[in-house]
Symmetry: C2
């Protein structure tokens, strides 16, 4: 049974403002919740139709189907919703390749990029402050647990790049052919916004402009989606530097 | 002004059954409609708030905002909806690399894969009959015009692969490392369903099993999204064979 205050709290976590205020976020579905339980994330509370979770009983609240419908953000709710604490970002490891996002706005794209970082062993993802929040429920759903294995920091990207002593790679339509480019094990790879690419301010901090060659005809598609561009770039960096 | 029958027809095109019956599909938004007008696709009719299109006047019907709201499939409708004829698939060119999809179900994934084919100069995309329809409005929106430049055929994938004399490449978790594999300019690259990968029936027709190495730790993400896997595979094929 959920109290009015519990319902209000859980529902409020659909908004970034309240996630920041309470330092909490939600995960829906047994599989996702289990991945977060088995990670370094701290569980606040699970609200569930059945207690099938291997956690301290005080952390589980049994609820009814109608309660679940009141707090879910999904059209077709699963059987459980977990509330977890937002962790503090860890220190960024400058000796490895870092991925940086300049205002990526689509939750699906951010989710896919987090999964790609996990797949390709990128530990640190740095996001400009206007990048979509990684604890947005659509991002959490899209990452399939990869969120528990990638350290994500939101910061002033321009300052971060200014302070870095490493090579800053960026992707541009007319950049150096990435297939022939010499790439390094460390450095920062910047990907841009869906509509505008990398902003002028951030471009001024890029030291190596890379491009993914287009093999289609002249009338071909104007640009690659930012998540597929990330896939191709990480594939090239890892292939060449392992 | 739209008649009841016109409203019924346009609305019906949100369903595959009626798209097939009428051999028509819809494109929403001025940019998308213009791309289809400037392609080999045949225009049936544009329904628009303003006639800003460079086409025969008999092909344009001015409508009101409330009419547009009745026929749109978007939450925030643009100013125009175009109805185009579904073209007959062209003959498949077996001398080039062909991409084949084994039951890809998500419209966003299919849209991204069509854009990737366009970018990487893949002319032919072959889809199993259970793959999502490429004239689904979500796919049309996601392709950003690439749909006009890729020849898409829906057919019995097992028969198609059985009849082919070419190498059939497929992606598997434990396949040969794609970075070291010798790849060819022609052949068929098969990508599988989001949840189940390549089915057993189709796997029996695969002659070369490829894998994208995982660089993360052992607990890393279980699989790549099918669209990002396609991006990495096409990048490798094109890089090595141009």
């Amino acid at each position: 049974m959920l109290s009015k205050n519990q319902i209000k709290l859980i529902k409020s976590l659909s908004q970034k403002k309240f996630r920041s205020q309470h330092s909490l976020f939600t995960v829906e579905g047994v599989k996702g919740i289990t991945e977060f339980i088995n990670s370094t994330f701290s569980l606040n509370q699970i609200y569930t139709l059945d207690n099938i979770f291997d956690v301290d009983g005080s952390k589980v609240t049994l609820i009814s189907d109608s309660d679940l419908k009141k707090v879910t953000q999904l059209k077709n709710p699963n059987t459980a919703i977990g509330v977890f604490e937002i962790p503090k970002s860890e220190v960024i490891d400058n000796s490895k390749l870092i991925v940086a996002l300049d205002d990526v706005r689509d939750p699906g794209n951010l989710g896919t990029i987090i999964r790609l970082c996990d797949w390709f062993g990128v530990k640190d993802l740095v996001c400009s402050k206007a990048t979509v929040d990684c604890f947005n429920s659509k991002v959490v759903q899209a990452t399939m647990g990869s969120l528990t294995r990638v350290n994500i920091s939101y910061l002033d990207l321009h300052n971060f790049l200014s302070d870095s002593k490493k090579e800053v790679f960026g992707t541009f339509m007319d950049g150096e052919n990435i297939y022939n480019a010499e790439l390094s094990k460390s450095g920062i790879l910047v990907l841009g916004n869906e509509a505008n690419g990398i902003s002028k301010t951030i471009e001024s901090k890029v030291t190596r402009e890379l491009g993914i060659p287009r093999f289609g005809n002249l009338k071909a598609t104007e640009s690659l989606n930012v998540a597929t561009a990330t896939a191709i770039c990480l594939s090239e960096f890892k292939r060449k530097t392992i």
